[in-house]
Symmetry: C2
Subunit: 349 residues, 2 copies
């Protein structure tokens, strides 16, 4: 893996991860004005959870025509000046968190307030506008994993970053605003609410992740089992399609994976994505998110794992989050986890 | 308010709340087979949250043509046998929780498991297929409030019910499966995760709800202020449109409201809904959910309040819950709460 760093015309960083050496980055000719992000977090007094307010994002790029795709390489509208790439990662032009964001007062009407001083990146893993992660060659998936690991290490080192979340939103059904396949990385300036819950569970039961993995491997919902990784539909799945992919070794993040674990992950992850697309005979809309340990407190408690889920509950039906889920955080799942595990196993590799 | 109880042909209960006396319920001629719900809850070991699995619901009625609407009164497909109604509440044919659900083993692969033994109801508040709550006469809104209060009291008395959630999902954009306007009630057999968070905050700060109300009334995000109620956009709003409507008196639930509070609520709630529809010049898709104190532990801690929110972030744009919200419970809101409060105030009454 060959890493090359450059800057876009507005000062944002772009990092190429190439399978062959020799990248000489092309200059960004667009002459963009510097981004002026306005990101802040406020702590909801009723729940204690942090909410992020990002006034500048409501005008972000929304499903542009293919000839103006910012992720296809080299065009006049492109975020990636080079005419081709393997993996290219750049700072999001419409970030939810950014270290450039201006200061805010420490509170508003009694509610704790802080700068949303993190970093958001876009991860492009193919210059083919109509490809997908599931259709990449294994060597490319392996490069993506190295890029994820490197980004995790770099972003974790930014002062104030508390947690790095590597994820892919796939499909217009879940609100993807660019058709070109891509992932994202959020370097949060706080530990996320879902992770806080997991840390509390792990603090009460230090055997939590090992115990769940052992029970799931013995249960009936395993989808894939390798030497280093197991993929299973969790017993208490919230979503009509949900799979967790968990390493057998207790590691905090992607950067801590050794080469053998990365090699197997490339094989199993692509296999899992292909099964997901086979489930309904069409590309599955999904969120695939890497839960990583926080940078600071609780780092030893949380085990790296992928949570992949989809809102598709039938070939022609979507699971919407409405009153119970969005209002009360009480998930109702119409699809038994045992059924979806059996169907993913049967979907072939 | 005149309450009349009856049974549908499959044994489900229907309750009419009429403004005039004299209802003699018509018989349900459909001869439906008894419902056989299969509802269970499983406790996610990673977060401690309960997830509900409802295998029978994946085939529920989905956007039927208007002539087969189950909520229009008296037709052959109708759930409401009478030819007209003011407010009619009946047990959901496709419930997420039901006391009739069969037993389950106490665990599965180490994960705690229980019957989903609660009750789900549908609240019809107009027999006009194309009406909306915002367009009802005030007298009807007042009857709806009495019906909500009565249902809350009745459902809270069912053994095993821990919390009663009265809500309306409005709009196909959030997955409503019936066009005819209606609300719902979920009587959960557990305290919901969001409420658990609020109870933890209130246990740490007994002044929580009074303090937030006081600060919000003094802040710049008030939308409506009455003698008994205040509506405001919370400082840490998660959604592009979000309004909390909170009573000035610390009451646990709708059943505890006195007549004066109910009278003013009818006026303010309808006013609020009309402002919401005026915001983008079109019916706003929304979830309007009543947060009520649990029946048992924590009952004195939580103050009744409405949380109304919408996923609409612009006339032509929806806020989707994707990686950060659905994966990490970290909400990103593109619309500053101060802006939406000013726009709702300007939207007129």
């Amino acid at each position: 893996m060959n890493r090359t760093k450059a800057r876009l015309s507005d000062g944002r960083e772009i990092v190429y991860y190439d399978e062959a050496p020799g990248r000489v980055p092309a200059a960004d000719q667009r002459g963009l004005a510097p981004v002026e992000p306005v990101c802040e977090t406020r702590r909801d007094p009723l729940t204690g959870d942090r909410v992020t307010i990002t006034a500048h994002r409501n005008t972000r790029t929304f499903l542009p025509p293919a000839d103006q795709c910012p992720l296809c390489p080299g065009g006049p509208a492109s975020e990636i000046p080079d005419p081709s790439y393997d993996v290219a990662v750049f700072e999001n032009r419409f970030p939810s968190f950014d270290v450039r964001t201006p200061p805010v007062p420490p509170s508003i009407d009694g509610v704790e307030r802080a700068r949303g001083a993190g970093r958001c990146e876009v991860v492009c893993f193919t210059d083919d506008h109509s490809a997908s992660m599931a259709l990449l060659p294994l060597s490319r998936v392996r490069t993506v994993i190295d890029a994820w690991a490197d980004r995790t290490a770099e972003l974790s080192a930014i002062p104030g970053v508390a947690q790095v979340y590597v994820f892919e939103n796939r499909g217009v059904e879940i609100g993807v605003t660019l058709h070109h396949p891509h992932g994202q990385i959020y370097a949060y300036p706080f530990t996320t609410p879902r992770t806080e819950r997991m840390l509390a569970s792990a603090a009460a039961n230090p055997d939590l992740f090992a115990g769940v993995l052992k029970a799931e491997r013995a249960g009936g919902r395993t989808v894939l089992a390798g030497e280093h990784w197991t993929a299973y539909v969790p017993a208490a799945a919230r979503w009509p399609v949900e799979v967790h992919l968990t390493p057998h070794r207790h590691v905090p993040d992607l950067a801590a994976l050794d080469p053998g674990e990365r090699d197997e992950l490339a094989v199993l992850y692509r296999d899992l994505l292909r099964r997901c697309d086979a489930l309904y005979g069409a590309p599955l809309p999904y969120v695939a998110g890497w839960h990583q340990a926080p940078v600071g407190e609780g780092r030893d408690l949380l085990r790296l794992h992928l949570e992949l889920f989809s809102i598709r509950r039938a070939p022609d039906k979507i699971k919407y989050l409405a009153g119970s889920e969005s209002g009360m955080a009480a998930w109702i799942n119409d699809v038994p986890p045992e059924d979806i595990a059996a169907r993913l196993r049967a979907a072939g590799g």
